[in-house]
Symmetry: C2
Subunit: 459 residues, 2 copies
């Protein structure tokens, strides 16, 4: 008896149009935004609903066929890249808002819905979907959840995980696991959705999401601050937590970063002419249009008086606030050659010392290198961009080893928000113990015994 | 070769004083606060540190000996009750605050630490540990996390799960799994701590907890409100979310509850002389001592003008606020005979209709029964107390079946915050699908293949 072909079986079950091969597969399916994907998948499946996802996985499971889920392909860790023998499963057609429940303040969407579309559906009903990131127009909510996305306002609203009440997931064998809970409290058995959030498609494919919505903020205050020391940065953060009830963003920039970005013409903004040891962008979003701006102003004035701040500028309008954010976004860094970007996290109090040590370790090896430190420090999240003129026999991975070893020495995480994918897999052991990784493998085996789901990713 | 005795092995490894049997075991170890435990365990182990927990589990694992973890024994679902062949493992001696990190705003404590002691350690440093429940003096943080405790301020701060950054857990085979993370963002591999939170000791024994702390609130405003309809209750909740930035408590009482509790002398409070279709206790905690009380007052005045409220009383001092809370706590219900308490959750918008249906279903069977509805409605959490004069041939479980069937019909949860334990195990399938329960079993088998950890609980 001849074993049937997996692609034939998929075509028979899903229709020819849902199973693409060869040149019919768009080249975007080669790689996520890390641009490290090397090949097109063996086939691309485009299911139209969760039942078709289940059918597809049932067939692939029977054939022991590896499946790589693909959302908006905006990831930065290679987690959605398929090898030439893999089948990519695109969530593009599983798109749409299914329900907005005003009383429960929940939004139920299909996993392939672009984040921005979900945000707009919430806003149209007067709610905030707090999850937000630069790639909101392309990134899909299923991918956001599979990677437990972070983004701009984690300090106030938490990671993607914190914003989800329910999930529907298809397991490796095609079982549909429906946990579309809308309750804030539900202790009926294990909270299974937690397994799938942040496991990068290795345990199941998310098909539906129930988000918890928040009230839309009514007033945003933004300031750009100058400070003398990392101790002062920490004191300002603590003061903002205590007195403002928490900022919605607390972004720190070290001076090399500030200099390069504000000297570059594409930034077109330089809040302070002079340089300072530290710059902080602080943003507060509130509901009290009458009092919040004055409270924010008063908070900064008190911080100046206490000597926490060297200087501060409050944005007088949206345009000024956008200019402050353009500095922090630092897109000018992308113009540098051979850059490598890092996304690490550290206990907040240790970030200052970490930066000094990491810069010193990198400079010892590459005295002419340029190293830029910045990030969501209020979330314990530091970004690093390195720009090194590599010598013969060196490659870009050499910088990884130095950065991640320093992260390990400071008990930090090699991935704050971007995930592990393939690019950081070799360094997982720098942030997680052998026992932890062994438990991850046991969970993987329990849920996907044949290892067909996103093989070779994370663990 | 004679198989050694598990108790002898435990004594040899931990010392005689750490392994109690027979009358040396205090009678409190018979049952949690559900008072459904029938027997003393075969032995009680009292490890002094996480390494001893690991040693004890390694020995029990080798003997395939069932182990029941016991914290403060304040649970209400029978989850910590041991059978006569089980060994109970008490966390009582694993008590103490290990670190308060001001910069990271984290508190690291041993799992046997009473919640109130951890709260005080945070407060001494100017922080709030938001997790709070009535049994705070006795309940231990490890048990709070194992059951994903809810409590009084979930609407503002989330369940226990939301307040934890790191855990240390001992697995069934004695492996110490250390995930004592202090970062707000950490996407390095699966977030394993989520598995152990809320799994009621069936997957591992929590030995250390890293809490995320918040700023201490500076001003609390409390009001007792009267409303005409459940629609008005929902509208008031939404208005409070939008305009106050979320209340810290939103507690609803149906009229039977209000009447009985306020007529009972032990309550010693009756905010409104007349009865209303709904009463709501609303509390707001803020940081702006100057403006928050006036905002709260203005919010209520606007709600009165809009016709959302029939009446409202704002507590003028702490004593009045306590009187409002005494009504909501409703301890007078405990004086009734043959009561059964329920802790269910429902999508917030459906709670009004659920109450009507549930009362109708119960009254059909027991026309003379008394049924009291109240709870943390802002958290989707409803409590029910039934008082029925059971006839011959009936038992108290008959009321369970009617309540939980109605919960199932409304797609609710049979346990909002108390957990499943043994008491709700038969009803788990009313809130979770067969596929979900099968995945729970796969996870259980992956982490505890011999099934020695808290057997017979949850699943």
């Amino acid at each position: 008896m001849k074993m049937s072909d997996v692609i034939d079986d998929l075509r028979a079950a899903l229709g020819n149009g849902a199973v693409l091969t060869g040149d019919d597969i768009g080249s975007k399916h080669r790689s996520d935004m890390s641009m490290t994907g090397r090949s097109l998948p063996k086939a691309l499946i485009r299911p139209r609903d969760p039942a078709q996802v289940a059918t597809a996985l049932r067939i692939c499971h029977a054939h022991r066929q590896a499946v790589v889920p693909q959302g908006g392909l905006t990831g930065l860790a290679g987690g959605a890249n398929a090898g030439p023998g893999d089948i990519a499963l695109s969530l593009d057609l599983l798109s749409g808002v299914e329900e907005l429940d005003r009383e429960a303040a929940t939004l139920t969407v299909l996993a392939g819905t672009p984040l921005e579309r979900a945000q707009m559906a919430a806003a149209d009903a007067g709610f905030l979907l707090p999850l937000d990131l630069g790639s909101r127009g392309t990134a899909q909510v299923g991918g956001n959840l599979a990677t437990n996305a972070g983004g701009n306002r984690v300090i106030r609203y938490g990671m993607a995980r914190a914003q989800v009440l329910g999930l529907e997931v298809v397991l490796a064998d095609g079982t549909i696991l429906s946990s579309l809970n809308k309750m804030l409290k539900n202790n009926a058995g294990f909270d299974l959705k937690q397994l799938f959030i942040g496991s990068e498609g290795t345990l199941g494919i998310i098909t539906r999401v129930v988000f918890r919505l928040k009230p839309l903020p009514r007033v945003t205050s933004t300031a750009f601050c100058a400070l003398e020391s990392f101790q002062a940065v920490l004191a300002l953060l603590q003061k903002a937590e205590r007195e403002l009830g928490g900022p919605s963003a607390f972004e720190v920039m070290w001076p090399d970063f500030y200099r390069f970005v504000t000297e570059h013409k594409m930034t077109n903004a330089r809040p302070f002419a002079e340089e300072h040891p530290f710059n902080v962008l602080i943003e507060h979003q509130g509901l009290d249009t009458e009092n919040d701006p004055a409270r924010f102003q008063g908070f900064l004035e008190a911080a100046l008086e206490e000597g926490l701040l060297l200087d501060a500028m409050v944005a007088q309008n949206e345009k000024e606030a956008q200019a402050f954010w353009r500095v922090r976004e630092g897109y000018a860094l992308d113009t540098l050659p051979a850059i490598v970007n890092f996304d690490v996290s550290l206990a907040i109090g240790r970030i200052g010392a970490f930066v000094d040590e990491c810069r010193s370790n990198l400079s010892k090896r590459w005295p002419g290198g340029r190293f830029f430190f910045y990030g969501h420090i209020g979330d314990s999240n530091l970004h690093i961009t390195t720009c090194v003129d590599y010598r013969d026999g060196e490659d870009m991975h050499d910088v990884d080893e130095i950065v991640y070893r320093t992260v390990r020495d400071f008990a930090g995480s090699v991935s704050a928000e971007h995930g592990i994918g393939t690019l950081k897999r070799d360094y997982l052991g720098y942030s997680r113990t052998a026992e932890e990784i062994a438990v991850m493998r046991r969970i993987k085996t329990a849920l996907d015994p044949q290892g067909i789901l996103n093989p070779g990713k994370v663990i």
